[in-house]
């Protein structure tokens, strides 16, 4: 994900500092790897969401930092486990945890982050703890659906959106709901922000699918998920309307990175990228629509400007 958004830098660093405190709960042997992930945890879109949604009221800053920490820890846990599942060897140019620590240790590091997040959530009260439990279960369901559908070249786009909603968007929703909770917002406002989070999450994932197909200046092969049999929105659309050559290539047991450029060409020719881009914008529009009157406020306009983060000009 590239692109910029108007983040509150001091909040960003407060959350990072807090996370460095919280990971003492992670076994010593695994802590360094988790800390590496914390320090290079991207631009902090998730904690940004928590912070902006809380701007609709007057949150307690310290509590807000802890809430953002819950989301980030949960996210770390799923990154650690995803890398094991996807056999990823590097993340942001650094060797992945299981490459450094070994397989089971990396899995345990993920479990420890999950435990740390759950402990923090429990400490922040029953409503946080329950929301956390619900989202964790949705995430796990989403990951299962993701594995189940591998090699499915005829996955319906509705099923794909359902999967994305669980796997990615639920966590975005949690950010918004926790921020709203910290600001003690009313039900209507919280619901608006929750819907915003879900739709933003779907738009984010589909935009990411498109980005994943762009040639990387760093030379990392684009579209490696195809080797795992996992096809995103552009590919699924191209499979539906394009030539059968694409499906034949994608299902070939001998598929390697060498065929990825050809796959990208086929997806592009079938209009897969354009259609996925349209779909992502559609969901982003729905996110803004859900905000309703909130969009006109200062924090609301900050949320709307996340468009620049999804589609940097």
């Amino acid at each position: 994900m590239s692109g910029l958004f108007a983040r509150d830098d001091s909040f960003f660093f407060e959350v990072s500092e807090h996370l460095e405190q919280v990971v003492v709960a992670v076994p010593e042997e695994l802590r360094a790897v988790v800390l590496t992930l914390v320090t290079q945890s991207g631009k902090g879109l998730r904690r940004h969401l928590v912070e902006v949604c809380a701007r609709f009221g007057r949150p307690d800053r310290a509590q807000l930092v802890r809430l953002a920490g819950v989301v980030e820890l949960l996210h770390l846990s799923s990154l650690l486990h995803d890398d094991v599942i996807d056999r990823a060897t590097t993340r942001r140019g650094v060797p992945t945890a299981h490459e450094v620590l070994g397989h089971e240790a990396a899995v345990l590091a993920g479990a420890a982050c999950m435990a740390g997040a759950a402990a923090e959530a429990a400490d922040l009260g029953p409503s946080v703890s329950t929301a956390f439990a619900v989202v964790t279960a949705e995430l796990a369901r989403g990951e299962l659906r993701d594995l189940e559908r591998s090699y499915d070249t005829s996955l319906e786009i509705e099923d794909y959106i359902d999967l994305v909603r669980r796997k990615t968007a639920e966590l975005f929703k949690l950010c918004c709901v926790l921020g709203a909770g910290a600001a003690e917002l009313d039900h209507t406002t919280t619901d608006r922000l929750a819907t915003f989070g879900v739709e933003l999450g779907v738009a984010f994932q589909i935009a990411d699918d498109c980005l994943d197909l762009q040639p990387d200046p760093g030379g990392k092969p684009a579209g490696t998920d195809h080797l795992l049999g996992l096809f995103g929105a552009p590919t699924l659309h191209a499979l539906r309307v394009g030539t059968p050559e694409l499906a034949t290539l994608l299902l070939s047991p001998a598929l390697t990175v060498d065929e990825l450029p050809r796959i990208r060409t086929l997806i592009g020719e079938a209009g897969g990228l354009a259609e996925a881009d349209r779909l992502a914008h559609h969901h982003f529009d729905r996110a803004v629509e859900a905000l309703g009157p909130l969009a006109a406020t200062e924090p609301g306009s900050t949320l709307v400007r996340l468009q620049d983060a999804l589609w940097p000009s």
Binding site: V26, L108, A112, T136, A140, L144, D152, P253
Partner: protein, 660 residues
């Protein structure tokens, strides 16, 4: 028109119907079973476990089978020896079962029945006479071909051109990679009972099909050819039999307007094996139990049956929309882990592929000796199972099968839910049924940790794609932990904190084991300590009682590790369903730490093996003694009795003196 009144009317005289009628008549209820006579189309061969056979008949029927071999097309194979299986002719089985039911006092009516409403069933004999049947309880056992057809089985006997066939072979045909919705297909080969040199081949598909039976059989034979060339020149030795199947099982469909639906009519069919008899017999037994328990209250009997079914069976078509995908995922996991000796996969394999495995008879229905103290907890533990299975059945039937089958492999005394429930009695009151969700969460967390700690990177086989063993183990672990968290949140959000702390502790202890000590006992100690502690705290036991139970739990965990080692050293079945080598590799054995050297089963010979056995036994007995001494301090009798039974059952391998 004649009228016939009876306590129970069983519609259908297949294996489920006759078994239910026998059991009910045996318990003194007047029972009528009504259905068509045994037909020629019933003449095919079936494979069943000896425990199922014993429920159907006390006669020695069929032919024992020593080994079951399972192949995943050409990609992998696995199997069991001494699985306790028998192959029978279905007609023989049906006739013996019907004779037994009649001998026990059930009345058999041959003809056709139509139900108008619950209490007025019309019965037509072949001669055209009609009888009205009035019954308090009605059981529907009309077979798998009466529901909506979602598949087909066809079978034929062949002359086999090799040495006498003495095993059972199950070939699970690989799902078509180019079609994620392709139908599951399994092929089974059995030696035909009473016919030397003849084998019986049956092919099952559990997806709707318009294929001709003969063609389906050909597809199955072609798959067999890929496994072994000897199947190329098979000469038919009998007619092609075929039947429609339904595999659309959902627990709620087992109660139809107050009538108990059992057997094939429930859609209970294992899509991996085509096996349905164990489930049919088991469902008959559950129905008979429920009716005899509530003989005067049909509504309560129905409810009881529904609960029992929900905690016993897991189907693969519960959410039909994704059924094929769920089947494919399970197939990939099974095939990729066919030679994996890890506890999570070994349990999954057994639960899914062994006939009757996921409804393991014997284990859960007659778990403990009469008078066993843990029987007092049976309803609570059953409720825990029901909640645990319900939490995973729809999304992940493979995992739910493990949860369901685990009830059968160990006696109830060994269940974590028993530990939890018994400890909760320590404050003097029976466990609150609301806590069943907590007991379920404890069991799901334990299985989740088993999956997460079981993950090793697979040897990269050089092909593209997902690393199925580790991917599935990690996802299953995450899924189980998440569902446990959700259950806890539903029961009492205040419990989220101790659960999170437990998870952190387990991760910590396991890491220390892997990186420093190599000793698995602290990890297992913490696994057993938590249910004891949480139970005691919820049951409002005093601080000192909680402290006693925490210690007790830890010693039980240690005893468990030594007991597993002793079972492995003696060549006995392990409670984790793995071999000694599997446990050493997974870091579940204390032997490398105790002997202070890396070791394998085969390296443990002569005096070294003896030393390993002696050391493990001494330590196991020590742990047991310490744990029992602690229990003496408990004020509550119920808790003390159940927990001492749990502890002695755990340490039983240390009292078992024969070595390998």
């Amino acid at each position: 028109m004649a009228e016939l009144k009876t306590d129970v009317l069983v519609l259908g005289t297949g294996i489920a119907g006759t078994t239910a009628a026998s059991l009910l008549a045996q318990r003194g209820l007047s029972t009528v079973m009504a259905g068509p006579p045994t037909q020629e189309s019933d003449d095919y061969d079936v494979l069943l476990t000896n425990s199922v056979l014993q429920l159907v008949t006390s006669e020695r029927l069929g032919r024992p089978i020593n080994a079951l071999e399972v192949t995943f097309d050409q990609t992998a194979s696995t199997g069991w020896t001494d699985a306790g299986l028998t192959v029978c002719r279905m007609t023989d089985l049906l006739n013996t079962a019907a004779d037994r039911a009649t001998a026990l006092g059930a009345r058999r009516l041959v003809g056709r029945a139509t139900t108008n409403s619950r209490r007025a069933t019309l019965f037509h004999t072949a001669a055209g006479e009609q009888t009205t049947l009035a019954a308090r309880h009605v059981i529907i056992a009309t077979g798998s071909d009466t529901g909506p057809s979602t598949g087909m089985v066809c079978a034929r006997r062949f002359k086999f051109p090799g040495p006498e066939y003495d095993r059972a072979l199950l070939d699970l045909v690989a799902p078509d990679e180019t079609d994620p919705r392709s139908a599951p297909l399994s092929v089974r080969v059995l030696p035909a009972p009473g016919a030397p040199g003849v084998i019986s081949v049956s092919v099952t598909t559990t997806a709707p099909t318009s294929t001709e039976p003969g063609h389906l059989l050909d597809i199955g034979l072609a798959a067999l050819n890929r496994v072994d060339e000897r199947y190329r020149s098979l000469v038919p030795a009998g007619p092609v039999r075929h039947a429609a199947l339904t595999s659309a099982f959902a627990p709620t469909s087992c109660l139809d307007e107050g009538q108990l639906v059992i057997g094939g009519a429930t859609g209970l069919l294992n899509p991996f094996t085509g096996e349905s008899i164990a489930n049919a017999v088991h469902s008959a037994r559950l129905a008979a139990d429920a009716i005899s328990h509530y003989a005067d209250d049909p509504e309560a009997a129905g409810k009881e049956y529904l609960h029992a079914v929900s905690r016993t069976f897991v189907g693969y078509s519960e959410s039909l929309r994704h059924a094929a995908r769920k089947y494919h995922l399970a197939w990939r996991i099974l095939a990729a882990t066919a030679d994996d000796d890890n506890a999570f996969f070994a349990k999954g394999r057994k639960a899914v592929l062994l006939p009757g495995g996921f409804a393991a008879l014997g284990g859960d229905t007659e778990p403990d000796a009469p008078g066993s103290p843990s029987i007092a907890l049976a309803p609570f533990v059953a409720a825990c199972s029901e909640v645990a299975i319900a939490a995973v059945r729809e999304e992940w039937p493979f995992v739910a099968s493990i949860v369901a089958s685990d009830r059968g492999t160990a006696s109830q005394a060994l269940r974590p839910a028993t530990m939890f429930g018994a400890a909760s009695c320590a404050g003097g009151a029976a466990p609150d049924n609301r806590w069943a969700g907590v007991g379920a969460a404890i069991e799901l967390t334990m299985l989740g940790m088993l999956a997460l700690t079981a993950t090793a990177a697979s040897v990269h086989r050089g092909h593209r794609g997902v690393d199925w063993p580790s991917a599935s183990a990690v996802l299953a672990g995450d899924h189980l932990l998440a569902q446990a968290g959700l259950l806890v949140a539903k029961v009492d959000a205040d419990l989220a904190s101790p659960f999170a702390a437990w998870l952190a502790e387990l991760a910590m202890l396991r890491t220390t084991q892997l990186h420093k000590t190599g000793d698995p006992r602290p990890f297992f100690g913490a696994l057993f300590e938590f249910p004891a502690r949480l139970g005691a705290e919820l049951g409002r036991a005093t601080g000192s009682t909680v402290a006693v139970l925490r210690e007790f739990g830890r010693h039980c965990g240690n005893a468990f590790v030594h007991a597993e080692d002793l079972l492995g050293l003696a060549g006995r079945d392990s409670r984790l369903d793995t071999t000694l080598d599997g446990r050493i590799k997974a870091g579940f054995s204390a032997l490398p730490a105790l002997l202070d050297q890396p070791i394998t089963d085969t390296q443990l010979r002569g005096p070294l093996r003896q030393r390993a056995t002696e050391t493990s036994r001494t330590l196991c007995l020590d742990e047991e003694r310490t744990a029992l001494t602690l229990l003496a301090r408990l004020p509550d009798n119920t808790a003390r009795h159940i927990l001492s039974e749990l502890c002695t059952t755990l340490a039983e391998p240390a009292h078992h003196t024969e070595g390998k």
